[in-house]
Amino acid sequence: MMTPLAGYLLVAALLFAIGLAGALTRRNAIIVLIGIELMLNAANLNLIAFWRYGPHPEALTGMMFAIFSIAVAAAEAAVGLGLVISIHRHAQTTDLDQMNRMKG
């Protein structure tokens, strides 16, 4: 018999694995960033689920952690996509298999 918390944790684990698989197997840099966003969202789901079923939900710690995590993830997405655009302008590609040099 599954408790509700176990269901949410299972969904979060699946989301994390899907995001990791996307980040590790795709060639396009934008899909890699999408995979990273999915992993961050899976962590947020864990935080909210533990907050909801934890012993002291009125302390708001898990909720606050998730809100700050969303803010940091938004900053990460903006900088990451800016970097992808910059690299595309420099190398004319977003294919990660072709980005094998550190020299510009």
């Binding site: 599954m2 509700p4 176990a6 269901g7 944790l9 969904v11 684990a13 699946l14 989301l15 994390f16 694995a17 899907i18 995001g19 990791l20 698989a21 996307g22 590790l24 197997t25 795709r26 060639r27 934008i30 899909i31 960033l33 999408i34 966003e37 969202n41 947020n44 789901l45 909210i48 907050w51 909801r52 079923y53 934890g54 012993p55 939900p57 009125e58 708001l60 606050m64 998730a66 809100i67 700050f68 969303i70 803010a71 993830a73 938004a74 997405a77 903006a78 900088v79 996509l81 800016g82 970097l83 992808v84 655009i85 910059s86 595309h88 302008r89 977003t94 294919d95 990660l96 298999d97």
Partner: protein
């Protein structure tokens, strides 16, 4: 565990799977939006109304638009002609992801007995969240504010830099 949870969970998982599997990047971005909306619904089901609406505003509203703009600006919506959309090391990546999921699932199975059963719905108002943000969590809030400012300025500078050099 209501039927609503399983429907929303299936929608979220299907959206995220489609986001990493579709060949066309625009379709990936649309599927990603579905996954984010499903996550917002999961937050709402967990009685975290504020986090759910923040998720809709930030992810469905802003991050999805950012992804679409990045696809537009890098002209990568057409699928590559040579080979597939997957990297040459896709098998290793898949094995690593499957191993991570196996470890997480094993840990979950081991702790099933200790997980909390149904608990009373927490009554958390937005006023309480605001008071906590302005009281106990005011320092993290200020740090996040400066982080967001720095990140947005930095993203604009990084994305504009090359163009400025060409103009000189």
């Amino acid at each position: 565990m209501g039927i609503a949870f399983w429907i929303v969970a299936a929608l979220t998982i299907a959206g995220s799977l489609a986001a990493v599997l579709f060949r066309n990047l625009v379709h990936c971005a649309l599927a990603l939006t579905v996954a984010f909306a499903g996550l917002a619904l999961l937050f709402l089901q967990l009685d975290a109304q504020f986090a759910g609406f923040v998720q809709i505003l930030v992810y469905v509203g802003a991050v999805a638009i950012l992804v679409v703009f990045a696809i537009l600006l890098t002209r990568s919506s057409e699928t590559p002609k040579d080979g597939g959309v997957f990297s040459t090391t896709w098998l290793a990546g898949l094995v690593i992801a499957a191993a991570i999921f196996a470890v997480l699932g094993w840990a979950l199975l081991q702790s099933l007995a200790g997980l909390a059963q149904q608990s009373a719905t927490p009554s958390v108002t937005v006023q309480q969240i605001g008071n906590a943000l302005m009281g106990r969590y005011v320092l993290p809030l200020e740090i996040v504010a400066s982080l967001l400012t720095a990140a947005l300025i930095g993203a604009v500078i990084v994305a504009l830099h090359e163009k400025k050099q060409e103009a000189e």
